[in-house]
Assembly symmetry: C2
Homo-oligomer: 313 residues x 2
């Protein structure tokens, strides 16, 4: 799993930071990529990455502010131009589907693939044998969601040598053991799956939160998460503005991560008011509260590898 | 007057060319800028120019394909963020107003300035004492317009020395002469305006055409124009595709300019199929038919100065 930031700004694009979008890459786990939000020019940002639009099979929208959705029509259209044929599922607040349909119709955009819409409400919005995605409402000036992505524990590996040593013959019995079932050999011996498989590996948990004030649901979504992506539109000196506009500060984001006992915090959605040299103390303020804090920049990428988070090129 | 290309691509953005938008700068003539089309990320392109969004007081949309309008919601929103307060007039085909209003409402975008919408039909869409803008339908796969912008002849300069020599006293009579009226001096002498003013200067004419096949109305709009901006999505070898998709080739654009007896042709809306080295013969093909042909690139800028067109930095 890799998290690549495509846009880390707030409100409007600047030369340094585009409006919001995150590529959540599950290429090893699912052969696909999920997008979280799709601000204007997300497709332009993608041109500077290795992301292939047709590999994106789910888009999760946190809320309907323009800096989080105005890149959707163009992205959808280009995914079609580029030969995308597989269904794309879009998760988002009420109203999103109608707007996308109206926009595609107005612009006579005929897609080469079907879109499935899921109107997000608090609770599980997606689940399969490998992943669960939960949504909870945050506190912004419009309805806004945070998402918690949980990878389910992965089955242990089959220890073939051990199985053979116990007398299990090559063939279908090995598959049953791998799948977690015990088997009975011809001589009557019972071999338990746990005898010949490594223990299940825990999956990762990532919380990606939309725009929000400091709130309880952020802590719930971030509880024990390996990675929390939290907005930090303001800093501690501008905390009144944060409250007024339904946003959080760097230190509030750090408090959320700390109270949730999360492992890593990625600060995102950074206002253009902060210049490059401001961002050093900006990050330090957060680290004073939650040591494992990092500042997201456009195109920065983090990889989850062997239970650790690494910043990669 | 200056014409700066903000996006010269076709259909979808590439690293080299953004989707369509042209800044038509009338800073000397009106203190404002007009935009022709507003593809996604037009506001991002503007960040790399001297254009100030609040100086843009009119946007003319040629047609409703996404690569010509998907940058509008973000541009409108950012013009507001950046303190624009003056009315913005948007000219475009039927359907545009409703989509913009729905989009601003969905995204809870509250603008600091009013928008005036003008639904474009064939004929004069704007006129004041200095300019006339006419629209005519082109031939694309959806309703699409071309615009002809005519600057009205500018009053000649008052030749003060000549007026004083003829006995006109300093004061209001000079103003009347400048305004084109004849005046009677105290001694009964009549002085004609034309005696003491230089002849009126002709204004410029620019035709900016939307996506279109080769068609008669393009020639009408481009008739005797100083500058014609014409799409050239295809080249002569791909002329069948051009016809199929309602587009023109480089050589068709050149024929339009030639038949219209225009003075300069700027080839725009260039498909990403043409790589950098393809564009040399691409331009040569056009020049073989119409010598004064130029290829528009993103950010290239042309200035109309002393009745000549100059490419400037
Ligand atoms: Zn935002
Ligand atoms: Zn086009």
């Amino acid at each position: 799993m890799q998290i690549q930031f495509l846009g880390t700004g707030a409100g409007m694009p600047s030369k340094e930071r585009n409006t919001s979008s995150i590529a959540f890459k599950l290429l090893e786990e699912r052969g696909s990529i999920w997008l979280f939000d799709c601000g204007e020019a997300t497709q332009h940002q993608i041109l500077h990455t290795t992301v292939k639009p047709r590999k994106i099979d789910k888009i999760f929208i946190t809320h309907l502010h323009g800096d989080h959705i105005f890149g959707l029509p163009g992205f959808l259209s280009s995914r079609s131009f580029l030969g995308g044929e597989d269904v794309l599922t879009i998760y988002g607040p009420a109203g999103l589907q109608q707007w996308i349909e109206q926009t595609l119709q107005l612009s006579k955009t005929h897609l080469t693939y079907p879109i499935e819409f899921v109107e997000v409400k608090d609770g599980i919005v997606f689940e399969d044998e490998k992943f669960t995605v939960r949504a909870l409402s945050l506190q912004h000036v419009v309805p806004c969601f945070g998402y918690r992505i949980e990878q389910k524990p992965m089955q242990g590996e089959l220890l073939i040598d051990k199985a053979l040593a116990l007398g299990v013959p090559k063939g279908p019995l090995l598959g049953q053991l791998k799948a977690g079932h015990s088997v009975k050999l011809e001589d009557g011996t019972v071999v338990e799956s746990s005898d010949v498989t490594s223990p299940p590996q825990p999956g990762f948990t990532v919380a990606i939160l939309g725009d929000t004030k400091y709130c309880e649901n952020s802590i719930r979504l971030a509880q024990n998460a390996d990675v929390v992506v939290h907005e930090a539109t303001f800093d501690h000196s501008t905390i009144e503005l944060a409250g007024k506009y339904g946003h959080a500060t760097n230190t509030e984001a750090a408090k959320i991560a700390k109270e949730a006992q999360a492992r890593h915090l990625l600060l995102n959605h950074i206002s253009a008011r902060f210049l490059k040299h401001d961002l050093i103390p900006f990050l330090e303020e957060a680290k004073a509260i939650f040591e494992n804090s990092y500042l997201a920049n456009d195109f920065s990428q983090y990889e989850w590898r062997k239970n650790e988070l690494l910043e990669i090129e």
